[in-house]
Symmetry: C2
Subunit: 313 residues, 2 copies
């Protein structure tokens, strides 16, 4: 495909078109991803999450600058919450990142989360593949962590950095929220604020308690004031340390396999969902529905009787 | 099932246990929902959504009081955003509703959105069925509207009320967000604030533009100060007017059919997802995955070759 060739050659407009194509989930997507896939496998994918106002975008912004200092290319995908009520904050964040806009080694793109059931998870995986194939060494996936889907997306990266601020609640909440299960690094941003020391101490204690395996990565808690570029160098050092650790212990390979496994499953699921919905709209499906509406069968009975609405499916 | 009999007889503890059972998606769920389903079909389901801070819970609270004045029973399901960072605000809202806690005609319950892929949509439908079977005349589903799943849940109700506040942005945003497609009623809450008149006017204009069908419901814009119980009586009158209109025009029947159709589809999908994931974990699935990891096949090729990993599926 000419579009893919151009993208692989570094053409940004072609990359943008490929990503839009993936987001739109068009008919020939399969062909496109088939061409992209063999070129993937080189990028390191870092997820950044945290509550609204924690300064995720600022941390990302400064981290991009650190990465660029090493000469490596970096792409940022910002996953926008799908709330119809969300304001322009995210767009504002993106505008702030315009300092990188003249730099061909940086690519920034927002992905919406609206759309079909489960679509985001598959789209973001395929966008990550496209950026990987396009030669970006680092891919940062920034999410507001507002939904299960976003957490699923994060889990499919190679490392997860959770950005907190002193006022974002205590560590008990972090524990309850299952963040200990996904965090490879913690950042306490705006660390000049009151209660920062308390939060750091609580996080360190919590990590100590969870740490039962000697061969396990020792999750660091990094204090930053990202807006003033303080602590971000240390964060980047720790991210690189994690990357080396994860390579050495086979974690990257395992995460890559999980990523691909989910991609295959989602392709299968999405085809199945469409097939079943189509069958349901046909006469047998509608007869079945009528039976349930007349209370001659329950939804579970109908689902079983349907044999998935087609034996040949 | 004894539990169901007790729930149908009005036992609140049994109802609470049934709802927990539905949320946990346990093994015998099918049997439970099979028993509940034939008793459903009487409740009117009203979705309430809006941005954080718009006063959804207060509007709900006062609406509950209006409904109780008619002697009807009402249940409220509050769908909590699944963000691991969400604070205690929602719990606080629920506590505020304790004024109804001694009233056997009111039942309030929060549903979490964390858990399995697509689980919330199915769970909330089945919880609505349980509350319907338990004899509640009104079921209010309150969501923060933070995700596609929540909007899907709202669409499965019989009416949707969108609560806005003057500072929640202009009407352009409402239009862009697709709220015009789901709203049957708009509430401008905290209508004493500046810009309230402007928002009301914009909404009215927007509704006028979208209104191309004479037989269509004329979406009202109701101004409230819910905290001081102002305008909520008018809101309830309009909700009832909508209900009568929707019954007359067959909208309720169509929405009920769509609700049941989605329930059947989700039962099928969830079974299929589990089956495919299991197959993928078996040796043929893992061989297929290995081939993709070695780049001897692409994910899409693997998904097709798999024939969904089992011809008999």
């Amino acid at each position: 495909m000419e579009l893919i060739d151009k993208m692989l050659a570094g053409d940004r407009l072609s990359l943008a078109r490929v990503i839009s194509f993936i987001e739109d989930r068009g008919e020939h997507l399969r062909k496109l991803v088939d061409e992209i896939y063999p070129k993937t496998g080189n990028a390191f994918v870092l997820g950044i999450t945290g509550p609204p106002g924690a300064g995720k975008s600022t941390v990302t912004d400064k981290l991009v600058a650190e990465i660029r200092r090493t000469g490596k290319r970096v792409a940022v995908i910002a996953i926008d919450p799908s709330s119809p009520f969300s304001g322009g904050a995210i767009l504002g964040d993106r505008i702030r990142m315009q300092q990188h806009s003249g730099d061909p080694g940086v690519y920034i793109r927002s992905l919406g989360t609206r759309g079909k059931h489960g679509g985001l998870s598959q789209s973001s995986k395929e966008v990550v593949m496209a950026l990987d194939a396009a030669g970006f060494d680092w891919i940062i996936v920034e999410t507001a962590g507002v939904g299960q889907t976003e957490l699923d997306v994060l889990k499919l990266g190679h490392a997860v950095c959770v950005v907190l601020v002193p006022e974002s609640g205590d560590s008990i909440q972090v524990m309850k929220a299952g963040l200990m299960e996904i965090a490879d690094l913690f950042v306490v941003n705006k660390c000049d604020r009151p209660e920062a020391d308390k939060l750091v101490k609580e996080l360190v204690n919590m990590i100590g308690m969870a740490h039962d395996d000697a061969a396990k990565w020792n999750i660091p808690v990094i204090q930053t004031q990202a807006l003033f570029n303080q602590g971000v160098g240390e964060l980047f050092t720790q991210v690189q340390a994690y990357r080396d650790f994860a390579h050495k212990h086979g974690t990257i390979e395992r995460k890559r396999a999980a990523f691909i496994e989910e991609e295959i499953l989602e392709i299968i699921w999405s085809k199945m969902s469409r097939d079943v919905r189509r069958k349901m709209a046909e006469s047998n499906g509608q007869k079945l529905l009528a039976k349930v509406l007349e209370k001659k069968a329950t939804p579970y009975e109908a689902a079983r009787k349907s044999q998935y609405l087609s034996k040949k499916l």
